[in-house]
């Protein structure tokens, strides 16, 4: 897999045939984080606190709507990844918002698997004979692999433009 910046806010994702299948399999598990993982506040609103109760309801609505949008986007991407009429290497051009959506989905699958494993120290997730736990561990590491490569490409400093008077030099 190769992920790199092509313009200040544009990126290119290049995948070979096996990586396409792997990413499609990861995205199949979106969303994985349970809704109750998030809350508006660490101090839950009291029965009489109408402002914060309304804000909590709004937050839940916002998260559900966002997940619906993201699920649609990831379904579309999975179709491209699994499209057997164009097998082999796939090049996907993405703008910054597309990258955010993909990162959010991949990270969700990784964190969701970690939660289902019982929130262990990520460095100490042990191999297991249990097929369910083995699959969750695999999801964590596979999603982490894609996430790490994308973040490396994102946080790479943007290539500097050559000085005006040297642009025509080859």
């Amino acid at each position: 897999m190769r992920f790199h910046r092509t313009a200040p806010a544009e990126f290119r994702l290049e995948l070979d045939g096996r990586e396409r299948l792997l990413l499609a399999r990861i995205l199949q598990n979106y969303p994985s984080i349970p809704a109750h993982y998030h809350a508006l506040s660490r101090n839950p609103p009291t029965a009489g606190d109408a402002v914060l109760r309304r804000a909590e309801a709004l937050r839940q609505e916002s998260l559900a709507e966002h997940r619906g949008t993201l699920r649609t986007a990831m379904t579309d991407l999975r179709q491209r990844l699994l499209d057997q009429s164009h097998p082999g290497r796939l090049v996907v051009d993405l703008v910054a918002d597309d990258v955010d959506r993909l990162l959010q989905a991949v990270n969700d699958v990784r964190v969701g698997a970690w939660i289902r494993l019982g929130c262990p120290d990520p460095a100490e997730v042990e191999a297991s004979d249990d097929p369910v736990r083995m699959d969750l561990g695999f999801r964590m590491y596979a999603a982490g692999h894609f996430e790490g490569l994308m973040l490396a490409g994102l946080l790479d400093p943007e290539p500097e433009a050559p000085p005006e008077d040297r642009r025509d030099e080859v």
Partner: protein, 103 residues
Amino acid sequence: MAETITPEVRPDVTERPDTDSEASLEPGYLVICWNDPVNLMTYVTHVFMRVFGWPRTKAERHMLEVHEQGRSLLTRDSLERAEFYVHRLQHFGLQATLEREAT
């Protein structure tokens, strides 16, 4: 140098206690990001840069605060803006909350 004194004209000031906007009356809200052991440090940095438009150095400073101190106060704002930031941070899967500022 000689000065010309011009009459100072000031607007009339009238007490209008009921016309303050709701935003100026409501307490401040703190947006806090809490540590979890699973999100990658580079991911958290990227999210702060995207959500707040911060430069990388500032985003990394807050990311390290989350990592080392268990939490970082990201911003203080009105309820509406604090909600917006919490929604965006949670869309990225971060453990973010808003807390009412102590008065």
